[in-house]
Amino acid sequence: MSARVLLPRTVALALAASGVVLAAAPWVLNEFLLSLALTCLMYAGLAVSWAMFSGATNYLSLATAAFFGIGAYVTALGYETLTYPVAVLLGGMVAAAFAAIVGATILHLRGAYFAVLTFGLGELVRHAITYVEKKYSGTVGRVLTETPEAATVYLTVLVVALAAVVACVIVRNSRFGLALAGIGADEQRAQTLGVNTRLAKIGGFALSAFFAGALGAAMAVRWTYIDPPAVFNPFIGFQTVLIAMVGGAHTVAGPLVASIVFSLLTELLRLQFPYLFLIILGVLLILLVLYLPGGLASLWARKRAAPTRDG
């Protein structure tokens, strides 16, 4: 068997270059534009890590909100005692651990059952945290009195987003990624071919959860007061799925491009058309799904004349 290149040189160079360019932003952009860039990066990280698992295996997960929120709450609880980078890392790990445990319980379900279950996870975790907090600390939510500099937050999110992209590329080129794709194509066949589908699924689920949690942990410092209803916002889950699928969930570049386009477009519309922008967004989305079903990625994939995967 030929040697497998996990991270092709061209990709690595491209990522490194963009990393360097993007890292300059805090000194070039004003606060608002920096925040906009931050949003783009956040959704890039979320969408890419979502596609890594759900795009490959076709297990449509709506649990991003839950993982993001868990990470955010880890920051809420731990920020005062841990340093910021440690909190981010821990947020990712707690989310991953949660995903592994939950995954072991529910990953035998498919399709709509899986989607609905993951959808409710955000609500479940939110209520659980509220209950535990209320009972044992007598209060809900945490106030962060001191927060890191905007540049620090930005660079941290940049690092996490880049890591997500790198992870996604490596996974796709590895046997693990092949296993995930095999599960997506035909799970039973993958099993008969010797893939431990259960472990693969749990691993993929947990890995994508790690990045969502880390991003949540990183972003939470921007809100000063972190309480369950704010951080377990289902819209983040929707938007992630939307972006990844609109971009083309079976690719890496698709969700990346879509996250930037979507974040900028939403912001532009929101600022320009204060009362109509959601309608415009909804119409655009429907048109896109109906007339460009392969997602944005199919735009350049078609040019390669290779058979595109539908989805």
Partner: protein, 289 residues
């Protein structure tokens, strides 16, 4: 009425509300695998129409119910034709239909909700109808809640009867069992699908109309109901009308008893826990076909 019976009755009534909310979505998903998460938005529209009729036109909400059903049925037909039929035509398999209909439904959600904000504003609205209490065996319940429960039962039974005994119902079941086979014997999806989709939207609107008698309404009220509907139909078994009713009632009971024995704060955790447990034991829901 004994304490436990009253508690159970409370739970069943709330469960009836859940079942009513879920019925329309169940039809759409069961037949066409359309994951219509904008379901709650049409519920909201039904609620607003009824409120508007009651407050501005001073029409009795019950009398207005058929109007809501009709209006939303037509809306459903239009929405199906514009948004979902193209998907069914071009998708290679059902999973793709599910995924794409999910995205389209997101778009619909944005559009319908925002239209509501433009039309009626963000303020809370409401009216009260049949708020008097009804006494049953010593226990008292709000008349409007009992009405919703009665409707849930009646509609579910009616739906089950239609599915079992009428030609139309048989066609629907045939389509659910085997789309190709059904088409081979001449069942026309071009008529069936829009009709069922429209019926689903109509049911959503009627659920909203009934709920508007009990709860306040706002443009953002739809989403929590969509979540409830999704849980109920998954619990009951996707596509099963009987399962939808059973799932809703079970959820209501679990909540009522759970809230009593532990604490109301744990309501969500309990419902969810039961949900996961049921799916562990029966991965296709309680009444899966």
């Amino acid at each position: 009425m004994g304490f436990w019976l009253e508690l159970a009755a409370s739970g069943l009534i709330t469960g009836g509300i859940y079942a009513v909310v879920a019925m329309g979505l169940n039809l759409q998903y069961g037949l066409m695998r359309i994951m219509n998460i904008s379901h709650g938005e049409f519920l909201m529209v039904g609620a607003y129409l009824t409120w508007w009729a009651q407050t501005i036109l001073e029409v009795n909400p019950l009398v207005f119910l058929p109007v809501v059903a009709l209006v939303l049925f037509v809306v459903g037909l239009v929405v199906y034709r514009l948004c979902f039929r193209p998907i069914a035509k071009t998708a290679a398999n059902v999973e793709i239909v599910e995924a794409r209909s999910l995205l389209v439904a997101f778009g619909l959600m944005f559009i319908v909700q925002n239209l509501a904000y433009l039309a009626w504003g963000a303020d809370l609205r409401g009216y009260t109808f049949l708020s008097d209490s009804v006494e049953i065996a010593g226990a008292r319940f709000g008349a409007n809640r009992l009405l919703v429960f009665a409707f849930a039962l009646a509609a579910s039974l009616a739906l089950l009867a239609v599915l079992k005994f009428t030609l139309f119902g048989k066609a629907v079941r045939a389509m659910m069992q085997s789309p190709t086979g059904a088409q081979l014997v001449g069942i026309d999806t071009a008529v069936l699908h829009p009709t069922v989709f429209g019926a689903g939207i109509a049911l959503a609107g009627v659920a909203g109309a009934l709920l508007s008698m009990v709860y306040e309404i706002s443009p953002s009220m739809g989403e929590p109901y969509t979540v409830t509907a999704l849980i109920v139909i998954t619990l009951g078994g996707l596509g099963s009308a009987g399962g939808c009713l059973a799932g809703g009632l079970l959820l209501g009971l679990v909540e009522a008893f759970g809230m009593h024995f532990t604490s109301p704060s744990l309501k969500m955790i309990l419902s969810y826990g039961v949900f996961i447990l049921v799916l562990l034991a029966r991965p296709r829901g309680l009444f899966a076909r």
